[in-house]
Amino acid sequence: MTDYKFNIDGKQLSSEEIQKRKDFNAFHKKFQAQSKAFYQQNWFWKSTGLASVIIVSLFMIISSSKNNSKNPVDDKTFEIVNEKHFIKPPFKDLRVKADAFEVDANKGGTFKSRFGSIIKIPAFAFSRKNGKTIKDQTVEIRFTEYKDVADQIISGIPMTYDSAGTKYMFSSAGMVEIRGFIGDSSVNLNSQEPIQIEMQSAYSGTEYNFYCLNEEEKSWDYLGKDSVVNHAEEAFKKQIQEKYPEIQKKDIQISNKQLEAQLQRIPEYKKRKKRKFQILQDLRQLNAISPTKPIKADKEKEKFSLDILEKENPELVSYKDVQFELAFGESINPKHTNQNWNNVDIKKGEDNEVLITFSKLNSNQEIQYKAIPVLDGKAFENAHKAYLTNLNNINKKRNELKKVTQQIKYLQREIKTKSIDKAFIQAKLDRTERIAYAQLERRNKDELARLEQRATVQKIQLQNKKTQEKVTRCFSASNFGVFNCDKAIATGANKKSTITNIKFQEEVNEAIVIDVFQQANGIYSCIAMKKKVLNQYANSTITIGISKNQIGILNHTSKGELNFTVKGVPKSKAQLMEWLEL
């Protein structure tokens, strides 16, 4: 058992108390005093011995394999890449903040930077120095975005472009640096699996070209054009689409009332409507007079007939020649046959049946029979003939009605289609007009905003406001490095002078001179040396000098004398921007 001493809720040391004990200078002095000279230390002699053995071994191995074909490179061997000499950040402790993402080499992934830029990495996108695809490892992607002139200055990336011997400066719409590492060893990109970068940019123009910094050749390689997605334009389009959606024919509705009003203006339609009305009336009449289909009397079945006095029973005249065949299950009661029945009432029953009620005057006696009215002989023939004639007339009228209804429907359809077409065209015209108005309104607003921006540009500069990012610039990269969406522009040198003196805090022989072109979002740097010619540019916002890590602002140049007001070493981007009045 370990003997512990528990100190519960004991004295807490404050940061101030601890800080008081901190003394780097004393520590460093002690360290230097205690550190022996390298040749006095054991490791030196051990390492020397070991190194000798390794050198001899290597020499033997190289000698023996000299004539052999290429040896496969050990998978675990990576080229150690430190910051390329070509890119020289001018300030030791100041770098543009980078994003780091861990990527599974087998899966790839999509990553978003602090500025909202998207990096899409496919699976198996990384390769080793020997070209072998990296598998089953995690690669760290370091992604840096250089958004403005301050970032450009801090980065130390040369922002000049040489075209046929003429030097141009870059007006940048955005620059990114992307690199991959396993541990602290750099890896390459597999050229078969390029990565996609969607860089957020504050510059919406399409006149920018796409360049990659060739760190070996120390120059920018022109790669063509990036593609630009204008967010403001896309948002406006979306807004328009939501407010004035695309009109489809199916969306156009014509009410029946509207349609009828239009149809009434067509004489042909009116005529047909009238005709239809007439036919319907005729049909009603024909149906009203139409007798039911006569049934021929069955000789085998029991039946009776009515002795109808036309004067007394006019309603029964139509049954004069009719015989009544007893319905199924009915039979005549012989008691009823020898009696005189004064009243007869006939009512329609189910199917062809009728219910016949016989009654007497001055008596409550009443009898009922279910029977089917039938005809026989000549009466049946006449009735059947009349029935057929009437049926024929009805069918004729029905056909006529069908035809005229079709004609009416055709006219309705035609007029409806024409009306929809007309309304559709009108709706489209209205929409186009509304969109045109919205665009005009937007243009006016933009114009107004531009005017306002121009008026307040000084204020914005003072407040160091960031320009709103408007577009996404998309490109693919098949190698790691620095990529720039730029247009090469002439710097517009308007004066040349031979430098007689360079004054920082003290006189120096040379300094890096950087002209800042804020509006173009670019810088132009060169090394100013005594007795050398220096160009001066009318359009630069400010000219600065860097000597021994210190920044100086160029006040004026008289007789070739460069006079810098020294600001010091910038501790942050914000401080640099403040000094540069960006």
Binding site: T2, K5, F6, F24, D99, E140, G183, D184
Partner: protein
């Protein structure tokens, strides 16, 4: 249990720290930012285990001496530089204990002890406290180290694993086992 946010480092911090390491490798004078950055962290780490300010100062000095002397051997493997520094601090602290034969100090707050007990048992904390301390005393040095890092210092498992040069999963497993052991001891008592 809350993890102390001061022990969490972003990728960006780790990367910029790496830059500082590179500068310090080139020139020992440039070790100053790292020294300033880590002095308090290392001091608190050692003081937690010694409870003696003067001894802590001495150990901290040795730690930074070793860090600077071995800086060339340090390889960046994506881990925070602090893990490497604290690993050295851990070794130096226990080296100091071996030399001085002082008792190992465990500094903790009442709240930390409560963290060790389940919420249900918190109502009986005062009754359980002596038994808990007794149970803690039965822990071996390495086990106590884990409990201390996790519950008294609030370090994430990842960092614990980095400092102790163990796998994160192994550290987790070990911590859960120690907790089980403590629970059993408490039940017996």
């Amino acid at each position: 249990m809350n993890i102390n946010p001061q022990y969490h480092k972003t990728k960006e911090q780790i990367h910029s720290e790496q830059q500082l390491v590179e500068y310090a490798k080139a020139n020992s004078k440039d070790f100053k930012p790292l020294y300033n950055q880590y002095y308090e962290i290392v001091f608190r780490f050692v003081f937690q285990r010694t409870g003696n300010e003067n001894l802590t100062s001495e150990v901290v000095s040795n730690v930074f001496f070793k860090v600077l002397r071995n800086l060339d051997k340090y390889e960046f493997r994506g881990l925070p530089f602090s893990s490497w520094v604290l690993r050295i601090a851990h070794n130096e602290t226990f080296k100091a204990f071996r030399k001085s034969k002082d008792k190992r100090v465990v500094r903790l707050e009442t709240e930390h002890l409560q963290n060790l007990i389940s919420e249900n048992a918190n109502n009986y904390f005062e009754e359980l406290k002596p038994a808990l301390l007794k149970a803690l005393k039965t822990l071996k040095g390495d086990d106590m180290q884990l409990i201390e890092m996790r519950f008294f210092e609030g370090r994430p498992f990842k960092e614990m694993a980095d400092i102790l040069e163990k796998k994160e999963s192994a550290v987790k497993m070990k911590v859960y086992r120690i907790l089980e052991k403590l629970k059993n001891s408490l039940r017996k008592n």
